[in-house]
Symmetry: C2
C-alpha cells in the first residue's frame, strides 16, 4: 500500500535502559522507522495505570550514542508513554506498537497486572496494531538472543496482516536455548491466580509493614492455554481484547430481581 | 445455607475518607458484617496496579467514632487492599466484596483504567462475588443518597444469586434525582476511547511538562450499551470478565505464517 517504511513505536515497563527494550529496538530497526517513548524508571505491576494527579515529563534521550532513531524518556506509566507519543511526539499514527521485551512472564492472569500489556492495549484502543513481548526470565542479565528471530517474525506478520479490531497480542517466550524452542503457538489465557504471601516485617520505628510476594497457581489443564505452551517449550501468542463484557452472563443476570 | 450474617469487604480507590465509600459502608452495614480495607490516599487511574517494589503499610483506623465495624487504612493500591484483606486481615473468605462508590464514571473503556474495578476484579479472581459502584459525579460533595436503595438492591441480589465464575459487576449510576432514575439495565461495555489532550506547561526551572486531559469519544450507538443506559437515565450494570482472550481471533491468527 505504501512505499514508506513502517513507523514503529517501542515502549516497555521495565524502563528505557532495560536490556529487554534495547533488544526490541534493535529488532524493530530492521523493520521500520523506530521511535522509542519509554518510562524513565521501572513500572512493573502498574497494570493500566495512568497519571492523573501529577505532571508528566517527557524528554529526548540518547541511550545509545550510535542510534539513529529518536528516543524519549517519560516520567509516567507505560500507558502514559503511548498517549504522549501519539499526541505530542509522533507526526503520524504508527503502523505498529511493540512493548517489552518484558523481564518476566505476562502469561495467564499476569496480563491484568502488566504494564507491558497496558501499553499494547492503549495502542490497540487507538487502532494501532500492537504486541507485548515477555521473556520468562526476571533477571536483569537475561539472554534475549534466542528469541530475536521469533520476535521479528511475529512483528512482520502483524505489519503484513494487521490485527482484528479490538485485539492486541500477548506474546510470552520460554527461557530456553534457540534450538529448544519448538515454535509459536496461538493460545487462550490460562485460568490461574496468585496465592499471596505477605512477608510481614517491623520497621526501625516499630511499625509493621508488608512485602507482597506470592505463588502462581495454574488451575487450568487445557492444552490450548499459554501456560501449557510455555511449559512445553513453545512461545505463546494470546490475542487479547479490551471489551471486558462477559456476554454470556447478561442473560443470567437479566433473570435476577433487579427492577422488582 | 448459613445463619451467619454475610461477611462483606468494602474498598475503593478514592481513599478511605471519601464520601462515596462512607455511603457504601453505611449501606453494607444493613446487609452483613463489614470490614473496610481501603487506600490511605486517592488512587484514581491506577488500573490494576499492585505494589511490588515498595513496602505496604496497613493500619487499623477509626474514621467514624461510632462505627462498630473494623477499618484498615492501607498505603497501597485498591488491588493491594483486597490482597492484604484476604490474606492478613479477614478470618474467612468474604461473601461479597464491594468497591466504591467511585466519584466519577467507570463505564465503557474507563473500566480498564479503574482502580475501583481492579479491586472488584482482584476479589473475583479469588472467587469472591464482587461489585464496583460508580456515580457519574466527580465532585467531592456529590450526593450519593439517590442511589442508595439501588446499591442495596444490587448487593442483595449478588448475595442471593452469587455470580457466574470469572465474572464481576461494573455498576454505574447517573447523576440524577431519585425519581428521575428509571431502573437498572444489564448492558455490554460501549466501544469508546479517550482523545488525549496534553496541557503543556513550563516549570519554574524552564523544563516542559504535561498534564494529561482528554475528551471521551463514544463510537458505539448500540442501545444495549452502558453509555446508552446512562444517557437514558438508567443505572448500567455490566458483567465483566478477566479472561481477556479474544477467542474469535485465534482462528484468524492461526492462518498466519508464524511457524515457517
Amino acid at each position: 500500500m505504501e512505499d514508506k517504511k513502517p513507523l514503529i513505536l517501542v515502549t516497555n515497563d521495565d524502563g528505557i535502559t532495560a536490556p529487554g527494550i534495547r533488544t526490541l529496538i534493535k529488532i524493530m530497526n530492521k523493520l521500520g522507522d523506530v521511535v522509542v517513548v519509554a518510562p524513565d524508571s521501572p513500572q512493573s505491576g502498574m497494570g493500566h495505570a495512568i497519571t492523573l494527579n501529577d505532571n508528566l515529563y517527557c524528554d529526548p534521550l540518547n541511550v545509545e550514542e550510535t542510534a539513529n532513531h529518536l528516543e524519549y524518556s517519560c516520567s509516567g506509566t507505560p500507558a502514559d508513554c503511548v498517549k504522549i507519543a501519539k499526541q505530542e511526539i509522533l507526526k503520524r499514527k504508527p503502523d505498529l506498537c511493540v512493548s517489552g521485551i518484558n523481564h518476566g512472564s505476562n502469561a495467564s492472569i499476569n496480563v491484568i497486572y502488566s504494564g507491558t500489556m497496558s501499553a499494547a492495549v492503549e495502542a490497540g484502543l487507538e487502532g494501532i496494531p500492537a504486541i507485548g513481548f515477555s521473556l520468562l526470565d526476571y533477571s536483569l542479565t537475561a539472554d534475549f538472543s534466542p528469541c530475536e528471530d521469533f520476535v521479528e517474525r511475529i512483528a512482520r506478520n502483524v505489519l503484513e496482516h494487521k490485527l482484528p479490531p479490538g485485539v492486541v497480542l500477548n506474546v510470552n517466550i520460554p527461557k530456553l536455548k534457540r534450538e529448544e524452542i519448538k515454535g509459536i503457538k496461538v493460545c487462550r489465557q490460562a485460568k490461574a491466580h496468585w496465592r499471596e504471601e505477605f512477608d510481614k516485617r517491623t520497621n526501625p520505628q516499630g511499625r509493621d509493614y508488608y512485602w507482597l510476594t506470592g505463588t502462581f497457581i495454574n488451575e487450568d489443564e487445557g492444552e490450548d492455554t499459554d501456560e501449557w505452551a510455555l511449559a512445553n517449550n513453545y512461545i505463546s501468542l494470546v490475542p487479547i481484547q479490551f471489551d471486558l463484557t462477559a456476554h454470556k452472563a447478561i442473560n443470567t443476570i437479566n433473570n435476577w430481581n433487579l427492577n422488582d
